[in-house]
């Protein structure tokens, strides 16, 4: 082999080696970075997907809320001394809401928490803010209820049985005696409906601040009298519609005020319950008898009873009175008083008022022009006089609006509360869902461009979420539809009844007006009475706004 040939071979090998190196380098790079293009594919996919989700961003842009003010705790100043008038089911739960539970109740909460680590009621109760109030007086006409309320009122350290308690509140046998007690600044009234207005008027005359359970009144005449007395006094009056504290209602109000639903012509609300408790067939206490119950006081204030009887007899409605004599002791009537007009305001006063006040809170609708009702006792044929199925329609002529309430106590099928607008419908409860109308003019452009899909939930707001968000997935929608169980204020979970009582107590200290005062209460009461009278008389009832009178159709 010649030298030349050798050189030639060497060159060839070098070239081959370098080619091999290059191709080895390529292979190496390919093996190292081979999967990088996958990231390019993802970037492209994310870009495309984000673009197609413009609708969600649009929803967030449209439904942008103001920050709600944080509830400021006003506990400075003297202790507010509270008297409890009526310590039955609702009364005792109002006491608990402001931090006073019976030791038995605390033990039960403790036990439940031990059995179920997810049950945080005991922890929540212990952590609930101290409102700097004291229960100094209790009045209930059933001995057992009064004693129970005394033990709750003395339980200032929120302890169970065998705990250390504070001073016992004094028991009064008659609420009028409680009202003259000098160590009572304010009263919480949670008695049957037929006592509401009378007790409130007496309390205000005695200079006590009042938190009154809804509905505000039992007869129409007392509604005016109560309004006059509150207007001419300096006391703080709050009606117990705790819905005023629900965050979604405040958001709903913002949505309506911004005109995002377009003109609203129909509001549909309902009550659906399907158990004896929900139909007011409450248990009868074993200790209850004529010796432990002051029946005379239960009967009611004679003037108020006369107003009731006058209305019933002069309108041919005697069949709705009784049927038992008012002075005849009856455990059924004492515990299940909501079933008889003699003490009750029926579905209208008990449950329609919740719906009405939520609407009034969001839209300031005021008193309707007319009310029409129908219904009957269709399921609970237990001798009751108030209907268990009721439909009431209210018309607001000047507002071009109708409000339909429909209730049954014999089916708990879920119906949402709907505000139907020309451009969108809002369903509001524990959460808010908005569905844009296919024929909307306001959102026509977005519908035409395919940004908004009409007929499908477009926007959802669930309290407790960090920020407002569009319906981005089926799971979120599902979550939203079920709703969360609690009320939130800026992300913190609260019991709404606590918030409503707290507002009243804060106002007593600050001198401000609470959210459900006498004007709102008057509107609530008159609206409910119009619905009730329309049912009883079987004809449309009208409101003469000038004369402030309910007139017949």
């Amino acid at each position: 082999m010649s030298t030349f040939e050798n050189k030639d071979n060497k060159n060839k090998t070098n070239i081959e080696n370098s080619e091999q190196n290059i191709s080895k380098g390529r292979r190496e790079a390919l093996k190292t970075l081979g999967t990088v293009p996958v990231l390019g594919a993802m970037a492209y996919g994310v870009y495309k997907k984000t673009k197609s989700e413009r609708a969600n961003r649009l929803a967030t842009d449209i439904f942008h809320f103001q920050e709600l003010p944080s509830p400021v705790l006003v506990t400075e100043g003297d202790v507010i001394r509270i008297g409890i008038i009526g310590a039955g089911r609702r009364g005792i739960s109002l006491m608990r809401a402001i931090g006073f539970a019976t030791p038995q109740n605390i033990d039960k909460l403790k036990k439940d928490a031990e059995l179920n680590s997810q049950d945080t009621r005991y922890k929540d109760f212990l952590e609930q803010e101290d409102l700097n109030v004291k229960i100094t007086a209790v009045c209930d006409i059933f001995d057992t209820y009064a004693e129970r309320a005394i033990s709750a009122g003395a339980n200032i350290h929120r302890e169970g049985l065998n705990g250390k308690y504070g001073e016992k509140p004094k028991r009064y046998l008659n609420y009028k005696e409680l009202l003259v007690a000098p160590d009572v600044d304010a009263v919480i009234i949670a008695t049957p409906d037929h006592w509401h207005a009378q007790m409130t008027m007496d309390a205000i005359k005695a200079g006590k601040h009042v938190y009154l359970e809804k509905p505000m009144s039992w007869t129409v005449p007392e509604t005016y009298a109560l309004r006059d007395i509150v207007r001419n006094s300096k006391v703080v009056f709050q009606l117990g519609h705790q819905n005023r504290q629900i965050e979604t209602n405040k958001r709903g109000k913002e949505i309506i005020e911004k005109g995002l639903l377009g003109p609203i012509t129909l509001i549909e609300t309902s009550t659906n319950r399907n158990d004896p408790n929900g139909a007011w067939v409450y248990p009868i206490h074993a200790d209850a008898n004529p010796n432990t119950i002051d029946w005379k006081q239960f009967e009611g204030d004679p003037d108020r009873v006369k107003e009731y009887m006058d209305y019933m007899t002069s309108n041919g409605l005697a069949k709705y009175v009784g049927p038992e004599a008012r002075d005849k002791f009856s455990l059924e009537r004492f515990f299940r008083w909501r079933c008889w007009w003699d003490y009750s305001t029926g579905l209208s006063g008990d449950l329609l008022t919740h719906e009405y006040d939520a609407i009034n809170q969001m839209m300031n609708v005021g008193i309707p022009d007319s009310a029409t009702s129908s219904g009957g006792v269709y399921f609970f044929k237990d001798g009751r006089t108030v209907p268990d199925v009721l439909q009431t329609t209210f018309e607001y002529k000047e507002k071009d609006l109708a409000f339909l309430y429909s209730a049954t106590q014999a089916s708990q099928f879920k119906r949402s509360r709907k505000f139907m607008g020309h451009d969108a419908t809002m369903e509001i409860g524990n959460s808010i869902t908005i569905t844009v109308d296919a024929r909307s003019e306001k959102y026509k452009e977005q519908i035409d461009k395919g940004i908004i899909e009409p007929g499908k939930p477009f926007y959802n707001y669930t309290p407790g979420q960090k920020e407002v968000d569009a319906v981005t997935s089926a799971t979120q929608l599902y979550f939203a539809e079920r709703g969360l169980l609690y009320s939130y204020v800026n992300g913190k979970r609260y019991n709404t009844t606590f918030l409503h009582l707290k507002e009243w107590i804060d106002c007593i200290r600050s001198g401000e007006q609470p959210s459900c005062g006498i004007e709102e209460g008057f509107q609530e009461a008159i609206t409910a009475h119009m619905g009730t009278r329309a049912y009883l008389e079987g004809r449309t009832m009208y409101w003469d706004a000038e004369k402030e009178e309910i007139t017949k159709g």
Partner: protein
């Protein structure tokens, strides 16, 4: 001596293992990005819907207002980083361990146990074994049969060690 993990896979074995690694990586990466790109996203609802023996612990976490933003951020960025590691074959084993950690947490908060009903309904029917467990097993397989040093950035990083 030939180390056990230096044994070569056949071309077919290597390809399928890499494909599995990349698609699991893709899944993690997009889960993270989607959460990052959703304004106000939070795992609050998911955590509060926890069931099983650890439910109390998860719910306590969910109710902790100061810890939740941290929990959300860790979840989002862990998903993204794990996804990137798996797709790129970068620090592969750390990626697998992270993936196993997250999947175990997801399973513990939402076990497919008897008598559990979730607010977020699953898209299938499961008894004890759900898709998180299946994916967890796939990740364990990938951990045992690593591919990053063959196809992936680990090839450069661990080049010297390998030599």
């Amino acid at each position: 001596m030939i180390k056990k993990n230096h044994c070569d896979y056949s071309r077919c074995q290597l390809t399928t293992l890499v494909v599995l690694r990349v698609i699991i990586g893709w899944y993690f990466l997009y889960e993270g990005l989607a959460k990052l790109l959703t304004p106000g996203w939070t795992s609050y609802g998911y955590i509060m819907d926890s069931q099983g023996i650890f439910a109390g612990l998860f719910k306590a976490l969910g109710q902790n207002q100061s810890l939740m933003p941290l929990v959300d951020a860790i979840n989002i960025y862990a998903l993204i980083i794990i996804g990137l590691f798996l797709v790129l074959g970068l620090f592969e084993k750390i990626g697998y361990l992270g993936a196993i950690f997250l999947l175990v947490l997801y399973y513990l908060s939402h076990p497919a146990a008897l008598h559990t009903t979730y607010l977020f309904p699953p898209e299938g029917s499961y008894l004890w074994i759900n898709k998180n467990i299946v994916m967890l097993c796939a990740v364990v397989v990938l951990f045992v049969f690593p591919t990053g040093k063959r196809i992936g950035l680990d090839r450069i990083i661990f080049k010297n060690k390998k030599a």
